[in-house]
Amino acid sequence: MKNIKNLILSALPLALLMSCGGPKPGNVAERNMLPPVFPDIDSITIPADIAPINFNVDGATYVYATARGSVSGQIECDGEWADFDIDQWRQLTRDNAGGCISVDVTALDSAGQWSKYQPIHIFVSDDPMPEFGVTYRRIRPGYETFSDIGIYQRDLHSFEELPIITYRSIQTDCMNCHVANRCDANCFQIHVRGNHFGTIFQKDGRRELMNTKHDSTIANCMYAYWHPTGKYVAYSLNLVHQSFWENPTKNIEVYDLASDALVLDVENHELILSPLLKTKDFESYPVFSADGNYIYFCTSKPYVEQNLLDSMRYDLCGVAFDPVAGRIGDHVDTIIAASKMGKSITHPRPSYDGKYLLYSIADYSVFPIHHREAELAIMDLQTGEQRILDEVNSPSAESFHNWNTTSRWIVFSSRRYNNNNNLLYFAHWDGNGHAGKPFMLPQRNPRDYYHKMMHSYNVPDFTLQKVDLDIRAVASEINDNKLIQVGLKK
């Protein structure tokens, strides 16, 4: 649909553009400053072969941009904004992997003055990003109700966005948690809620729809993470509640009234419970370690009514897991006692090479998305050293994040654009404990796109291939409530 719209949208302006050339620079003033561009792209690190890093120049009515590779190659573009040709740009990044692209900008302002700015530098990493793109949920950043909601995938080598499943396809209240096993689009799950509900599992083209609520559990399985073998999924079960602030800087507080964690044996449709993950305390966001022998999760003292919401702080803990026997270990390790530091840790994500653990940290809460102070932090799993990732954080909330398959790139959502909409950013990870300056998800016309954008991007993850879901079959199965009821592992 979006393609058709883009086609229609581009048809008329293109015809107009082709019929007339742009203004030619004359009487150019040299500016000893970087061009005021949106988004901020100076000194970012990008992978080779990614979609063009287009940009708009504030106050400019016409822009000439020349991208010059430090190794070889040069491409140009001109127009109302810098809009590079996709193939030329990708070739340029491939030719300059491990080097740098300098972008010279000459812009015409509304007063008719041409200005030439200092060049923008974009570093091209020689760490490849082999993924096709990213998946995410798009949703209006609101409160309790969502109708215009969908899970999408975006090709990172172009500007094409494709729906995976949207509100149009099925009658449901909410959908979330498209979670793939290590970015593998052939092994993923999606959860839908509402009158018609269920958790869709698709592995190697075979699809099952499960009801993951069991009499002995408090809720449906919610926040998910695949075991590397694809046999298990770790889940937390959360009774989520919201309260509303009457405060200009904070609107919503999302918290749990109860939460547990468990593991689902996907092949046998069985829940694996453990008293260690089903305590009176709250357990949330369980994830498997890279080798699959350990489960990291977050835990907090339970919420008691009349308690202050800012007393809810989550520690990072862990418990062993035996994937052969399908058994959870017998003791819990406290890895980071964040609550003692007056902090709360959520969204742990181990890198797939097993070396690092990326997580969110905020002053309190299980849902950092609404906390401006929320930041990304990292722990070296070999040394136990932890630090805040200052090089990627901003004064706004940074929240959900994921690694790519090579563990050299991270995608995360941040509200830095306007403190309201979660947008996607990518950062390079050098494997030695340092991240590059992040860049925003590229768009053909970034300012136009993000200025009009009313949605937030949630739960981003990389995907190696295009996700292929037979939406008509899924809609039919969900609407018919053809669910496999999970049981308990004896």
Binding site: M1, K2, N3, I4, K5, I8, L9, L12, R140, G142, Y143, E144, T145, F146, S147, D148, G150, P163, I165, T166, Y167, R168, S169, Q171, D173, S243, F244, W245, E246, N247, P248, K250, N251, E253, L309, N418, N419, N420, H451, K452, M454, I471, R472, A475
Partner: protein
């Protein structure tokens, strides 16, 4: 004027009268659940969806419903125009130029059916628009004289399906009849042509469904995206109305002129059909809620109260509107128990996941100064619009909320959208001048009061201590009398008399002694008396502000209760009657 046009003219007048004066809320309801934007981007968005053009044109028309008088005229014109097009189609089918009032009256039958169907407020105007488009397209097609025009359908049917969706079936059926009559006379060729057109139309739908419209269920693809507000629902009336558009031209083409009496009777029946059928098509309860919402939106407080005196739907939304109107006119303390009341929920409704129920609550929050709650209610109401339309009315309130609380980037995002509308753009342009200027907002005539009344520090919105929350608003801005009225009303409605008695002195500013209290509202007098009498067991020195009339009423009420009698009508509008039934 040719006498045969009297029926359509009268039909227009009746429809106009209904929607301009009897049911202006119908126009308001439709207008507030969409936001038509001028611009290529918005058009392209619609054109990228099958049946999007019908939806786009319908939204274009509905934006004028902002003024119900104008909206009613357009709606009446649309229904009458539909009838005239059916009549023209019948002429095209019959090849006859001699038509009578009977023909025109019968041609209005589809309009009557659509008029009946539109009482279902979830019917979207895209549906009648697709019928109009189908008839226009058919009449254009009729201008092609050659037999070879049939081949054009290979392009026309897919194109028209993309533009009008469901309308393609009406168009295909009319074309099949016309082509069969002109070029392939006889039942068999006619049936074959009809089947071929129908099959080709279905093929177009299926192809769209498996290619570019994969996310849309087939029910939407066959019956029109946004032809009904609820997704995946197609009422029988849609099919019946569409069928009548195909049937009536054929029927009229076969009929003679009819006698004078027949023409008059048919004309009268058609003209009177919509008002006569209205009670069956326009559900009184829902339309009353819409009416209250419409009046609240336009801040016609006295009209809200008058309307509720005649009929007050038993729904928190209606009570929210009534109590807000009473409070805005300063009558809440005196008159609230003239109405049955339904507890705190009648003052501020609980959140419900739909686009309608909480809108008046949002308006109450706006006037009270609970700006984040305004944002929440209007955001969630907008997000609850089941066809995922945006609402210009809600966007307007959302933009205001962001502006008043200094979240200018978000305010700008919404203001930019409103700038592309027809009737909100002037407001948006004015509001844009306030962006990033908190001082200007604080001193503006429009927002200074709300900016002053809004909560300045951290407060968690809670329904359990709502009275305290309102009192906090009043403490922060003592001129926020609305908040004080709501706090007191909240205690009265919850029967929390100790809290009411503690807060009561706030209603008498500057007076330190009870003996100085004056002009105490009736329900406060009743509540104070009730609290003191029930606390002391009967013998109590009542304060002087409790009037003799209240004292007498209470005595009568007490007697009736003791004798287990129902309180008489005179005592119905007292706090005691409410609190006894509440408990």
């Amino acid at each position: 004027m040719d006498m045969k046009y009297i029926t359509p003219a009268a039909f227009f007048a009746v429809v106009y009268w209904i929607y301009a004066f009897v049911r202006p809320e119908w126009c308001n309801f439709h207008e507030q659940y969409q936001m038509f934007l001028f611009g290529w981007d918005y058009l392209a968005g619609h054109l990228s969806i099958a049946s999007g053009m019908a939806d786009y044109l319908a939204e274009f028309v509905v934006q004028f419903f902002f003024f119900p008088a104008l909206g009613a005229a357009l709606w009446a014109a649309m229904l009458t125009g539909l009838g005239l097009l059916v009549w023209r189609a019948s002429l095209a089918l019959s090849g006859n130029v001699d038509s009578s009032g009977l023909h025109l009256a019968l041609a209005l039958v589809p309009s009557v059916l659509v008029g009946f169907y539109c009482g279902d407020y979830n019917m979207m105007l895209a549906f009648p628009m697709c019928l109009v488009m189908a008839l226009l397209m058919f009449l254009l097609y009729q201008r092609l004289a050659s037999r070879r025009r049939v081949y054009f359908q290979i392009f026309l049917i897919p194109l028209f399906y993309w533009l009008s969706g469901y309308g393609v079936f009406v168009y295909a059926a009319l074309c099949a009849m016309a082509d069969a009559r002109r070029f392939w006379r006889g039942w068999l060729p006619g049936l074959a042509l009809l089947s071929a057109y129908a099959a080709f139309s279905v093929l177009c739908v299926v192809m769209a469904g498996y290619t570019v419209m994969r996310q849309y269920p087939f029910i939407d693809l066959f019956c029109g995206v946004n032809f009904y507000r609820d997704r995946m629902v197609v009422p029988f009336m849609q099919h019946l109305s569409a069928f009548s558009v195909v049937l009536m031209p054929a029927l009229i083409a076969l009929l003679g002129r009819g006698g004078k009496a027949v023409q008059v009777v048919c004309g009268a029946l058609v003209v009177s059909a919509i008002p006569v059928l209205m009670p069956f098509s326009h559900d009184k309860f829902s339309y009353s809620l819409m009416k209250i919402d419409y009046l609240v939106r336009n801040q016609r407080w006295k009209d809200v109260i008058s309307f509720c005196q005649v009929y007050l739907p038993d729904d928190s939304m209606a009570y929210n509107g009534l109590n807000l109107a009473l409070a805005k006119t300063g009558q809440l303390p005196d008159r609230m128990f003239e109405f049955p009341q339904m507890g705190q929920e009648g003052l501020v409704g609980d959140f419900q996941r739909n686009a309608v129920s909480c809108v008046i609550t949002g308006e109450a929050f706006y006037h009270l100064g609970l700006i984040n709650q305004v944002l929440r209610v209007f955001f969630d109401s907008q997000a609850s619009i089941v066809n995922c339309n945006r609402s210009a009315r809600f966007t307007h309130r959302i933009a205001e909320s962001y502006l008043v609380t200094g979240r200018y980037d978000m305010a700008a995002k919404h203001i930019r959208m409103l700038e592309k509308t027809l009737f909100y753009s002037a407001w948006a342009r004015e509001a844009a001048g306030y962006l990033y200027h908190p001082d200007k907002v604080a001193s503006s005539s429009r927002w200074s009061q709300i900016a002053r009344h809004r909560v300045q520090d951290n407060m968690l919105y809670t329904v359990t201590d709502m009275s305290d929350m309102f009192l906090r608003l009043h403490h922060q801005s003592p001129d926020n009398q609305l908040a004080l009225q709501y706090a007191m009303a909240c205690d009265l409605l919850n029967g929390n008399l100790p809290h009411f008695m503690r807060a009561f002195p706030l209603t008498q500013p500057g007076k330190n002694q009870v003996s100085q209290y004056s002009n105490v509202p009736k329900s406060y007098q009743e509540a104070v008396m009730y609290a003191m009498v029930t606390q002391s067991g009967g013998n109590v020195d009542l304060p002087p502000f409790v009037s003799q009339e209240v004292r007498n009423s209470f005595r009568d009420f007490d007697n009736m209760m003791t004798m287990r009698q129902q309180p008489d009508k005179r005592l119905f509008s007292t706090y005691w009657r409410y609190i006894v039934s509440y408990r």
